[in-house]
Symmetry: C2
Subunit: 153 residues, 2 copies
């Protein structure tokens, strides 16, 4: 079933990422996003590929894995509704740092690098809020990764 | 010896972080920065404290350490001229994730959270460039940390 535009706006309002956004900002920002239904077991990004979008999980669960020693995939995280995945691709031009696959049927909301740069250009005040939010998420992940390995440093 | 303003501008021009900045942007941005001479052995931030600035190393070397098991400090990185240190404090309201101390006499260029928010407000186009640069640095550090621990995942 297709969601209406009003429905998408309500979904975005419910995401913790947008807690500090006004209704007008959410309405405006939503125009730059696109919604997609994805089957279970779909690889959304592959480690080592170039990436050009991030997504928010609206419904379902995705799993993030890295290729470890002996080329075995190890799952390092699972993300459910509300999480943002793939921020780094919007900020630098490096390859995807992990593989992301849907663990269940998912509904995701996509922000491409192209649209992100468009927001920054056309709506800098809102763009800055989005950019700060993404940087904060990456920063929290770096803190978590430092904490995780602290005992072996 | 005090640096003249022109001299500070030239120092900033030489930092890799500002490679994509025009002369006018650097001139404008430099007004928001302050230069400081720091003695060897000075603790610039302590792990667990609240932070409200980042700095660029202009001259000298700083060491970054974490408190590991048994409360021993382990040095996890050294940064020399050109590096930026402490970005996370400008983006989130958490504590400093590591301790930073000057390993030699240092010259550093400080950007406070207050001045950073002022740039974003007063000069959004340049502010966005700075914010993207900081986010990219954090992102690269997260990639490096994932790579470092990959064999034990």
């Amino acid at each position: 079933m297709e969601r209406t535009r009003e429905n998408v706006i309500n979904v975005v309002k419910g995401l913790p990422f947008f807690d500090s956004f006004s209704d007008d900002e959410i309405r405006m920002f939503t125009q730059y996003l696109s919604l997609r239904q994805v089957d279970e077991g779909t690889v959304l990004f592959s480690e080592g590929e170039m990436g050009d979008y991030l997504f928010f999980v609206i419904d379902g669960m995705v799993e993030v894995s890295l290729t470890g020693d002996g080329k075995k995939h190890r799952i390092i995280a699972n993300f459910g509704p509300g999480a943002s995945v793939g921020e780094m691709a919007l900020l630098d031009d490096y390859e995807r740092s992990a593989t992301v696959r849907t663990a269940t049927p998912c509904e995701i909301l996509i922000l491409t690098k192209y649209k992100f740069d468009k927001i920054l250009d056309e709506q800098p005040k809102t763009g800055i809020k989005v950019l700060k939010g993404l940087a904060k998420n990456i920063s929290l992940r770096l803190r978590a990764s430092q904490g995780r390995f602290k005992d072996i440093l």
